[in-house]
Amino acid sequence: MTTVDLTTLDLASLKTDLKSLIVVECDKDIEPGSIDDDAILIGGDLDLDSLDALQISMAVKNRYGVSIEGGPEARRALKSVNTLADTILNFQRD
């Protein structure tokens, strides 16, 4: 169920979109804009855990049609908003 056309989304908009997705899916009481682009997502100051990682991965799959596989790939992709955005855009280029 891809709802976002990545060809029409620039990098800044994608990052803004991802921050909102993280806040909603992980039920965090913070402003999406308060998440730094390079802030550590899992195990960092945001206090997200592996269950949040799974929730974000599922939401990214539903929203952007991009599967984030487990293991090293997931750890790399979910390191920060920057890496998550890169993963999504790289998937589109491939």
Partner: protein
């Protein structure tokens, strides 16, 4: 079985579901994320029960509900059946009703056993029976028993699920009682004299006959009928017991944990020494709860 403390949340739902996050924060002292209304309501009711009376760490948790976490169940089913997608992880985890007990144990520091039991009719009574069994056998010294039911939108669909008429006032509630066995040395609010399931009206009549041998009994007892008791049966019960009819006021909206509301108001308002609460189910059985103030 003694009642040491109680705490409640009950709300009639009309246009929209009221937000609960702030109430959860008040009840637990911290924000709780990744939980739906069912767990939020459980935390609010339990928190209010334990505010002035913290439970011993080895207290057992007995959570019950007539229909469980409808919100999460509907979310998961819609995701899978309507959209053909796997359920979201957090929703899927919370379809296990006992996950609510995890949050209760975590936030109130309880290390005892935890159970989720459900019975469509008389859910609170079913949990009280289970807790009584464990308290009587000595495997527990105290138990936190709660009954929770939530509303889902749209209300028309919710009423259809409840099998109630379209104009029925519906709501949600969370009713909690901290219990101990009869050896508890501290101050108690009341004693649960009986919580029993009787197979039919004859058995109920026989049981009632054994309870009202003293002429003083009816004067000291109020009769509260559950929401499944029809008017002829209500009148018959009043005639059989000789007790005054009593009901929570204002009348609670329809939800399965209704009995908890009545018991809570009885403990708060103390309209008589003893409460006799009777409800029926479609199988013709009767659930009886008898509670006497300390």
């Amino acid at each position: 079985m003694k009642i040491i403390a109680h705490g409640h949340y009950a709300e009639k739902i009309e246009d929209a579901l009221p937000p609960l996050k702030e109430l959860v924060k008040e009840a637990t002292g911290e924000p709780v994320r990744r939980v739906g209304r069912f767990i939020q309501l459980a935390l609010i009711g339990a928190g209010r029960c334990l505010t002035a009376n913290p439970a011993p760490k080895n207290t057992g948790v007995y959570l019950t509900s007539g229909r469980g976490d409808l919100e999460i169940t509907l979310d998961v089913l819609e995701q899978m059946v309507e959209h053909g997608l796997p359920p979201k992880p957090l929703s899927f985890i919370n379809t296990v009703s006992n996950s609510a007990c995890f949050y209760l144990a975590k936030h109130f520091g309880l290390h005892g056993r935890s159970h989720f039991v459900t019975r469509r009719h008389a859910p609170l009574e079913s949990a009280l029976q289970l807790a009584a069994l464990d308290l009587d056998h000595g495997s527990l010294q105290s138990a936190l028993v709660g009954s929770v039911d939530i509303c889902t939108m749209p209300l028309a669909d919710h009423r259809t699920r409840l099998c109630v008429p379209a104009d029925t006032a519906v709501g949600e509630g969370s009713h909690w009682f901290l219990l101990s066995n009869d050896t508890y040395p501290g101050t108690t609010l009341a004693t649960i004299e009986a919580v029993i399931l009787l197979p039919d009206k004859d058995a109920l009549q026989q049981w009632l006959a054994t309870q009202f041998l003293s002429p003083q009994s009816p004067a000291n007892t109020v009769l509260a009928c559950g929401q499944h008791i029809d008017t002829p049966t209500r009148l018959l019960l009043q005639h059989l017991t000789g007790c005054s009819a009593w009901a929570a006021s204002p009348e609670p909206p329809w939800y399965d944990s209704h009995c908890g509301n009545t018991l809570g108001q009885f403990l708060q308002l103390r309209p008589a020494r003893t409460l006799l609460h009777i409800d029926s189910d479609p199988a013709g059985r009767f659930n009886v709860l008898q509670v006497s103030l300390s």
